[in-house]
């Protein structure tokens, strides 16, 4: 039993892994919740993006670099970050439909205090969340890789 497990003994202890398995998805969901409710409750794109990134970081700490990178590789992260930026820019430029850059161009903004009540603002939040989450995750990857490169020297 112990011998067969030895190969997979990357990352932290069994207990940490189990807890991570349980919580990582919950943290991810919580982040998405914060992003989507950014316009009616505290938080928003930045805070939500941060929480989403933290769920990936937790996976990386518990299971090691390779498993986390299998979920989201560096190259994909770099592309996704640009996608976040471009998405924001596109929505802002779509504001020209309403006559001005960055204008909230939806005709009907919905009932106040419900989920669909802010026109384009949730979309901005999603764009920011993608950019922040991927950005923070890539910073973390870079730190990890840098440390490894130093050790190998």
């Amino acid at each position: 039993m112990v011998d067969s497990n030895k190969k997979e003994e990357i990352g932290m202890s069994f207990m940490v892994k189990t807890v991570t398995r349980l919580t990582a998805v919950v943290i991810l969901l919580f982040g998405i919740y914060i992003v989507l409710h950014g316009h009616i409750s505290p938080g928003g794109g930045f805070a939500g993006g941060l929480i989403i990134a933290l769920s990936f970081v937790q996976v990386m700490i518990a299971f090691g670099k390779d498993i986390a990178l299998r979920k989201l590789s560096e190259a994909k992260a770099a592309v996704l970050e640009s996608v976040g930026g471009l998405l924001f820019l596109t929505i802002a430029a779509l504001g020209f439909l309403g006559g001005h850059f960055l204008i909230n161009f939806f005709a009907s903004k919905g009932r106040p205090f419900t989920l669909f009540s802010a026109g384009t603002i949730p979309f901005y939040n999603i764009a920011i969340a993608i950019k922040v989450a991927v950005g923070l995750f890539s910073i973390f990857i870079v730190l990890v890789i840098l440390k490894r490169a130093k050790k190998e020297e």
Binding site: S82, G85, L86, G95, H100
Partner: protein, 495 residues
């Protein structure tokens, strides 16, 4: 139309980051097209300003004191043209020059981010967006200075980051105090509030913070420590941008905009700026003489020339402002050209030490001739552009009864001539170092960029023809002469 300056440059940056890794052609095409279209747009902006005066764009449709606005007036249009012209030329130059670095697409991505930030600083109508765009441009430039990732570059970039961050915190502190005092961030509105409440110690403190902060960004002498390191260790294309436009847009433009248009002209501040300018001229020039590293010499020379611009603007007379802005334009042309020349020499020979060079004129005729033109121009020899602007500055000093400042300007000019003669003699004349027997002239794109700038140096005097002068420089001068009336022109539709 004004937001296009953001959309084009930012979209180009993200697109290059996304697809540039796969295809080099895409990366080249996007950056050249983006900078070209920004250049054409800024020409159009100049035309619009001449035709219909100040243009205010309300982002999201919110009217100015409430929402964010972008303002295009004569001064902004002038700075936009200088910035986007130089960035177009540098983008062409970088096609060949940056080949020796890996990850070229990262260079273009950061380059476009830097242009976005600078366009933002010039167009911002409220002081906090000015700060944010200033940080975008600064952070991109920190990364660009460290682009070579050798020990020397990283050290220079670290020094630059520390000094830049201190400067930014001074500026942010100043903006915070200003916001607490006037309860608005819109520049025109701040100006009205200050006119209403009077000039007192709070404004004086904020002025000191701004002089220290923006003074560091523009490398005036007591705050110049970062510039020689950062400019000499960055890739030449980046040094040309840093020295040609970054210190002018982040430093001089913001300084002048705030002290002339928001706080209103004040004798104490002008005196301080004049003294800083005079010290910069002398110290920069004297430190430049002793340098044997070509790019370091050029960096010190930048400090000296920035001193001229600040000195002339601080006279606050029509002729002084005209001379200062004209010198700003000329300096951005010939100093970019000189940095591009230094890049070409480094590209061909692989060294920057003046002592190892000599006799390169036969091997690299185009580099030698363009650098000769730029050197004569920066030293103020008659047919070239530098002469006219320096002449204007000296006449303006005499006219304002500041004979001492005029003498300092003349002395600085003579020292400039001395060290550029040294550069010319040591690099291009004399005996060829046998190690450089096989070097060739640089590739076409680098040659093209240098030739265009050299022609502009020659034609600089043409700007004196009244019709062109009225079109190009007069709107900018009149904006600064209007002073705090800026508020009324911006908020005109609302008040």
């Amino acid at each position: 139309m004004l937001v296009l300056f953001f959309i084009i440059s930012l979209a180009a940056a993200f697109l290059i980051a996304m697809f540039g890794r796969k295809s080099k052609l895409f990366c080249h095409l996007t950056s050249i097209l983006a900078t070209l279209s920004l250049f054409l747009l800024s020409l159009y902006a100049l035309y619009l300003v001449n035709k219909s005066g100040v243009i205010v764009y309300n982002i999201g449709g919110w009217i100015p004191p409430l929402g964010i606005c972008l303002v295009l007036d004569g001064f902004s249009a002038f700075m936009l043209l200088v910035l986007n012209f130089i960035s177009f030329i540098v983008a062409i130059y970088a096609l060949a020059y940056m080949e020796k670095y890996t990850d070229k697409y990262r260079f273009y991505c950061l380059f476009m981010c830097m242009i976005t930030g600078m366009n933002g600083v010039i167009l911002a109508g409220d002081i906090f967006n000015l700060f944010v765009c200033l940080e975008i441009a600064s952070v991109a430039s920190y990364a660009l200075v460290a682009f070579g990732t050798e020990a020397e570059e990283l050290e220079a970039a670290f020094k630059y980051i520390v000094m830049g961050a201190i400067a930014a915190s001074f500026i942010l502190l100043g903006i915070g105090l200003l916001y607490a005092y006037t309860s608005t961030l819109n520049m025109a509105d701040i100006s009205l509030a200050i006119a209403h409440k009077g000039f007192n110690t709070v404004i004086l403190l904020v002025s000191v913070l701004f002089i220290a902060g923006f003074g560091t960004k523009s490398a005036l002498v007591p705050f110049h420590g970062w510039l020689p390191d950062a400019h000499s260790s960055a890739p030449a294309a980046v040094s040309a941008m840093l020295s040609g436009v970054l210190i002018k847009v982040l430093g001089i433009y913001s300084l002048v905009r705030i002290f002339f248009n928001i706080f209103g002209v004040n004798q104490i501040i002008l005196m301080i700026l004049a003294i800083l300018g005079a010290i910069s001229i002398l110290v920069g020039a004297i430190l430049a003489i002793g340098q044997w590293d070509l790019k370091r010499l050029l960096a010190y020379s930048s400090i000296s020339q920035i001193g001229y611009v600040i000195l002339s603007l601080s006279l606050a007379t029509p002729l002084g402002i005209l001379g200062g802005l004209f010198h700003l334009f000329n300096h951005s042309v010939f100093k970019s050209l000189l940095f591009l020349n230094s890049g070409a020499i480094e590209y061909a020979t692989g060294c920057r030490n003046l002592k190892e060079m000599g006799g390169l004129k036969e091997k690299m005729p185009i580099t030698a001739n363009t650098s000769w033109i730029a050197s004569l121009s920066i030293s103020g020899i008659p047919p070239f552009s530098g002469f006219w602007s320096k002449l204007l500055i000296i006449i303006a000093c005499v006219q304002a009864n500041r004979i001492g400042l005029a003498l300092i300007a003349v002395a600085g000019s003579i020292i400039t001539l001395a060290y550029f003669m040294k550069v010319q003699k040591v690099i291009f004349y004399g005996k060829l170092n046998p190690a450089f027997d096989k070097i060739k002239e640089v590739p076409v794109s680098m040659r093209l960029a240098m030739i265009v700038l050299a022609v502009l140096c020659l034609l600089g005097g043409i700007l004196f023809i009244p019709r062109i002068l009225v079109y190009f420089l007069k709107p900018a001068v009149s904006v600064l002469l209007l002073g705090t009336n800026y508020a009324f022109t911006v908020l005109g539709g609302v008040l």
